[in-house]
C-alpha cells in the first residue's frame, strides 16, 4: 500500500500523487477535458456479456454527462459502478433501460446491446425493452396498492390475469427477495404499510418478478438503516449467479462485499474496470486505489 502524505488542496478535484512519483494523474487530465483511455482488465473481457455498452455518449442539453463509455456487463454476475457523486453512474444505469427518454433535452450517440439486441435502435420497442429488465431505485417506491399487486405489477400490465400464474410468481419473487416469510400472511394489505427495508425488498421482488435479463440497482441501500441494508446486501449475494446485476453504489464496502466486478467512473468517464478483488487490492491505477480506499472523493 502506498502512503499518501497530504490531503488534496482545496479547489483541486484530483488527488495528489505520492511524493517522488511523476504527476501522471489521469483524474486531473479528465478534469482538464482530455480523453483518457479506460483500464479494462482482461478477466472482464473474458466473460460472456449480457449487456454491451459501446462508445456511449450522453448530453443533457449542451452538457456532456457520459463520455464514450465502453464496457461489457458479464452474464449472471454482479457488477458494481462506483465513483464520486455526479460522475454519471446513475445516468449510465438509467440509459440502460432508457428511462432517460423521459427527460427533455437528452441526446445520445453510441449504442448498447442487450443479449445482442440494439437498445437504441429506432425500431426497438421501449416498453418491450423495459420488460426485459428490472430496476430498483434509491428510495423505495412501492406502488399505492397491495403487496401482492405490487409484485405482479409487471405481469398485470402485460395482460396476465390467471390467478394460478400470478400466485406462483408472487410467491417465487417474494421468496427470491427474502420477504415471503414476513409478508405471506398479509399479501393483500397495502404495500405502503411495510417498513423501509421491507419496501425496498418488495421493490426487488417486483423487479425480478418478470424474470429480467438484467437487474439494475440504483443505490438500493442509500435510504435504509444498517440492518435493512444488511438484509438487502445478503439478498444481492443470493441473486448472484442467477441474475445479471448492475448496481450503483456509494458504499465501497458494499461494492467489495457484493460484487464480482467493479467499474470506477469519474466525471462521466470509465477510468478502471476489473474484478472486484483486484480493484480493491491491487488496481492498475493509483487513482482507483485512492478512491476505493477513501483518500479521495
Amino acid at each position: 500500500m502506498q502512503v499518501f502524505t497530504d490531503s488534496s488542496p482545496a479547489g483541486s478535484q484530483g488527488s495528489r500523487t505520492p511524493a517522488g512519483d511523476p504527476p501522471a494523474d489521469r483524474l486531473l487530465a479528465v478534469a482538464a477535458g482530455r480523453e483518457v483511455a479506460a483500464e479494462v482488465h482482461d478477466r472482464v473481457l473474458a466473460e460472456t456479456p449480457v449487456l454491451e455498452i459501446d462508445r456511449f455518449n450522453l448530453w443533457y442539453g449542451s452538457k456532456q454527462a457520459l463520455h464514450a463509455i465502453t464496457m461489457p456487463v458479464p452474464h449472471n454476475k454482479v457488477t458494481a459502478l462506483v465513483g464520486p457523486s455526479g460522475c454519471g453512474k446513475s445516468t449510465l444505469l438509467r440509459s440502460v433501460n432508457r428511462l432517460n427518454d423521459l427527460v427533455q433535452n437528452v441526446r445520445i450517440t453510441g449504442d448498447m446491446r442487450l443479449s445482442g439486441d440494439s437498445i437504441y435502435d429506432p425500431r426497438m420497442d421501449v416498453i418491450e425493452l423495459r420488460k426485459r429488465m428490472g430496476m430498483v431505485f434509491q428510495k423505495p417506491n412501492p406502488f399505492p396498492m397491495s403487496i401482492y399487486e405490487n409484485v405482479v405489477y409487471a405481469l398485470r400490465i402485460d395482460g396476465e390475469n390467471s390467478r394460478a400464474v400470478l400466485d406462483e410468481v408472487c410467491e417465487l419473487s417474494l421468496r427470491g427477495a427474502a420477504l415471503w416469510d414476513e409478508v405471506k400472511d398479509r399479501l393483500h394489505d397495502s404495500a405502503l404499510g411495510l417498513s423501509g427495508g421491507q419496501q425496498q425488498r418488495l421493490c426487488i421482488a417486483r423487479a425480478i418478478a418478470a424474470e429480467p435479463e438484467v437487474l439494475l440497482l440504483d443505490e438500493p441501500c442509500s435510504a435504509l438503516d444498517p440492518i435493512a441494508t444488511g438484509k438487502v446486501e445478503d439478498l444481492i449475494q443470493e441473486l448472484r449467479g442467477r441474475y445479471s446485476v448492475l448496481i450503483v453504489t456509494h458504499n465501497m464496502q458494499q461494492a467489495s462485499r457484493t460484487s464480482d466486478y467493479t467499474a470506477f467512473m469519474y466525471l462521466g468517464r470509465l477510468i478502471e474496470y476489473g474484478p472486484t478483488t483486484e480493484i480493491f487490492t491491487k488496481p492498475i491505477l493509483r487513482e482507483t486505489e485512492a478512491y476505493v480506499t477513501g483518500r479521495f472523493g
Partner: protein, 559 residues
C-alpha cells in the same frame, strides 16, 4: 469565565430588547387573523342556524289591550327602545305578528308601551295556518257543520276539531294529488297523442296510412281520457263534498267572528296551552311539512321539497359532468402536454376563467346550450312539439342545461385541483412503473390516478360547494319561481332533464326580495338559508368521507 484572559465577557443584548427576535408579535398577528376569520364565519353560521331553526318553534300568543279599548292578538317578534326627543320621554315598543290579515289589515304592527293598557296570554288563543290567506290568530268559539253547531265552547270544539281534522286533511291531500298528478298524467297522454298526429303528418303526409292510424289513436286516447277524467271528477267531488260544510268559528281579537272552513286549515295549535313536548311536536311537524311539501302562497309558506330536490339533483349532475371533463383536461395538461409557453398560456387562461363573473356563464349557457344545442335537439327529435305548440322542449332552460352551465363554471376549480394532485404524485412512482415496462396510460391509470384521487376529490368538493350556492347563472338557464313537476317521475321516459326546476338559493332571493310581504317571509328566508347550508355541508361531508376512505387506501405512508 474569560476573566483570566483579562477581557470582560461579551454582554448579550437583553432578551427583552427585541420582540421581533422572539417572534411573539407575529404569533399574535397570525393567531389573531385566524381567530378573526373563525369568529366571522362561525358568527354568520350561528346567526343563520339560530334564526333558521327558531322559525317553526311555537311562540306564545299574547293579547294586548290598548288604551283606546282596541285588542290585538299575536306573537311578540321584536322589542326596541325609542329615544327621547323634544321633551318626550323615551319608551319601549313591541313588534307584534298580528297575522289575521282580513281583520287587522296588517301582518305586523308596532305598539308603543304607553298605549298598552293590559297584556294577557289567553289560554285558548289559537294560531291557525291556512292554505290561503296566511296565518289566523283567534279564540275558538264553536265547530260547525252547515248550519248545525257540532261542538260549542273552546274546549269541546277543540277536542272535536282534533278528532276530525286528520281525516279532512287526508281528503284534501288526496284531492290535490288527483288534480295535480292523475290529471297531469292524462294531460300528457292527450298531448302525446296529439303530437303523434302532428309527427305522422310531418313525416308521411296527410294521405298516409300512418297518419290515419295516428288520428284513430288520438281519438281512442281522447275517449279514454274523457272517461277517466269523469271518474276523477266524481272522486274529487266526493272528497270535497265530504269536507264541505265543516267550519271552525273563531273570535278574532277585535271581537269579530270568522268561520274558517276545515279544508282550509293546514295546522292549528294553541301555544299557551302546549307543554314543551307538545311544542316540540308542533315544531317537528312544521319542519316535516317544510321539508316534504310543495310551497304555498307565492313560496312564502308550505314546504320547499321541489327546491331541495332541484338543488341536490343539479349539484350531483354537475359533479358527475365536471369530474371526468376536468380530470381528463388536467391529465393532458400535466401528463402529456410538453412544457412550454403554450401550456403556460393555457394554464393562465384556465386560472383566469375562475374569475369570470358567473352571470356571464349563465348568458353563455342560455345562448349556447339552450338556443343552439337545445334548439338543435328540438329540431331533430321534438319537431312535432315545436310545430304544434310552438313550444321548445330542450330549447329552453332546464335541469340539464343548468347543470352543464355550472359544470363549466366550476371546471377551472377542478382542473387546477387535479393538476395540483397529479403533480404531488412522486415521480419515483412513475419511474418505477415505467421501469416495469408499463406504458404511459397504464402508469396513469394504475399508479398516478389512484394516488391523486384524494386530491382530485378535494377539488370536486370545492366545486360542489361553489356550484350549489350559485344563483345568478341559474336564473337564465332553468331555475323557476315555481316548478312542481320534478325532473324524475312516473311518466315515460321517467327522466326529464329538460324540465325547469326550483333551487334553494334562488328561493332565498325570490322569497326574501321578490315577495309582496317580505317581512312575513323573513323567517322563511333564514330557514331556507339554513337548509341550503346544511345540504351543502351534508354533500361535502359525504365527499370528505369518500376522500378519507380513498386516502387510507392509496396514500397512507409509513414514514
Amino acid at each position: 469565565m474569560n476573566s483570566e484572559q483579562g477581557r470582560p465577557p461579551r454582554r448579550l443584548r437583553s432578551a427583552h430588547s427585541s420582540l421581533a427576535a422572539h417572534g411573539e408579535p407575529l404569533v399574535w398577528l397570525t393567531g389573531g387573523a385566524l381567530a378573526l376569520a373563525i369568529a366571522m364565519i362561525s358568527g354568520l353560521l350561528a346567526f343563520i342556524a339560530v334564526r333558521g331553526a327558531a322559525t317553526f318553534w311555537p311562540v306564545p300568543l299574547v293579547e294586548l289591550e290598548l288604551a283606546d279599548g282596541r285588542r290585538v292578538l299575536g306573537e311578540v317578534t321584536g322589542r326596541e327602545r325609542v329615544a327621547a326627543v323634544d321633551g318626550r320621554e323615551a319608551f319601549g315598543r313591541t313588534l307584534l305578528k298580528t297575522a289575521t290579515f282580513e281583520v287587522t289589515g296588517n301582518h305586523y304592527e308596532w305598539f308603543d308601551d304607553p298605549r298598552v293598557a293590559r297584556i294577557v296570554q289567553p289560554e285558548w288563543a289559537t294560531a291557525v295556518e291556512r292554505l290561503e290567506g296566511g296565518r289566523f290568530h283567534g279564540l275558538p268559539l264553536r265547530l260547525v257543520h252547515g248550519d248545525k253547531t257540532v261542538a260549542e265552547g273552546a274546549e269541546l270544539a277543540w277536542r272535536e276539531f282534533e278528532r276530525i281534522q286528520p281525516a279532512v286533511r287526508r281528503r284534501v291531500r288526496e284531492a290535490v294529488r288527483i288534480d295535480r298528478h292523475d290529471r297531469g298524467v292524462l294531460q300528457r297522454q292527450l298531448r302525446a297523442a296529439r303530437l303523434g298526429v302532428v309527427q305522422a303528418d310531418l313525416r308521411s303526409g296527410r294521405d298516409s296510412v300512418a297518419y290515419g292510424a295516428a288520428v284513430r289513436e288520438e281519438q281512442a286516447v281522447t275517449a279514454r281520457v274523457h272517461e277517466r277524467s269523469a271518474l276523477l271528477d266524481a272522486e274529487t267531488t266526493q272528497l270535497r263534498g265530504e269536507n264541505a260544510g265543516w267550519g271552525f268559528e273563531f273570535e278574532a281579537a277585535g271581537g269579530e267572528t270568522r268561520v274558517i272552513p276545515l279544508e282550509q286549515i293546514v295546522r292549528a295549535w294553541q301555544p299557551n296551552r302546549l307543554s314543551t313536548m307538545g311544542k316540540l311536536g308542533v315544531y317537528l311537524g312544521r319542519w316535516w311539512e317544510f321539508l316534504t311539501d310543495d310551497p304555498r302562497e307565492a313560496n312564502s309558506a308550505g314546504g320547499v321539497f321541489p327546491a331541495i330536490w332541484g338543488t341536490v339533483a343539479m349539484t350531483l349532475i354537475m359533479a358527475l359532468l365536471v369530474a371526468p371533463f376536468g380530470m381528463l383536461a388536467a391529465l393532458y395538461l400535466r401528463e402529456y402536454a410538453s412544457r412550454g409557453p403554450v401550456t403556460t398560456a393555457v394554464r393562465i387562461a384556465i386560472n383566469n376563467l375562475a374569475g369570470v363573473p358567473s352571470i356571464v356563464y349563465g348568458a353563455f349557457g342560455l345562448g349556447f346550450f339552450c338556443y343552439v344545442f337545445g334548439a338543435g335537439i328540438d329540431e331533430v327529435f321534438f319537431r312535432s312539439a315545436l310545430v304544434a305548440d310552438n313550444q321548445p322542449t330542450f330549447g329552453t332552460g332546464g335541469l340539464l342545461w343548468a347543470s352543464l352551465t355550472l359544470a363549466l363554471l366550476t371546471l377551472p376549480v377542478v382542473i387546477v385541483a387535479t393538476e395540483e394532485a397529479l403533480s404531488a404524485v412522486p415521480n419515483s412512482m412513475r419511474e418505477g412503473s415505467y421501469a416495469c415496462g408499463a406504458g404511459k396510460w397504464q402508469t396513469i391509470r394504475r399508479i398516478v390516478l389512484p394516488r391523486a384521487l384524494p386530491g382530485i376529490m378535494t377539488g370536486l368538493i370545492l366545486a360542489m360547494a361553489r356550484g350549489a350556492g350559485e344563483v345568478a347563472p341559474l336564473m337564465l338557464v332553468g331555475v323557476k319561481k315555481l316548478a312542481l313537476d320534478l325532473p324524475i317521475d312516473g311518466t315515460f321516459p321517467f327522466v326529464h332533464p329538460e324540465r325547469e326546476f326550483m333551487h334553494l338559493a334562488y328561493l332565498i332571493y325570490d322569497v326574501g326580495f321578490q315577495s309582496p310581504n317580505s317581512q312575513a317571509a323573513q323567517p322563511m328566508v333564514f330557514t331556507i338559508t339554513f337548509l341550503l347550508v346544511a345540504i351543502i355541508a351534508l354533500l361535502n361531508v359525504a365527499a370528505i368521507w369518500l376522500r378519507s376512505r380513498l386516502k387510507r387506501r392509496y396514500v397512507m405512508q409509513q414514514f
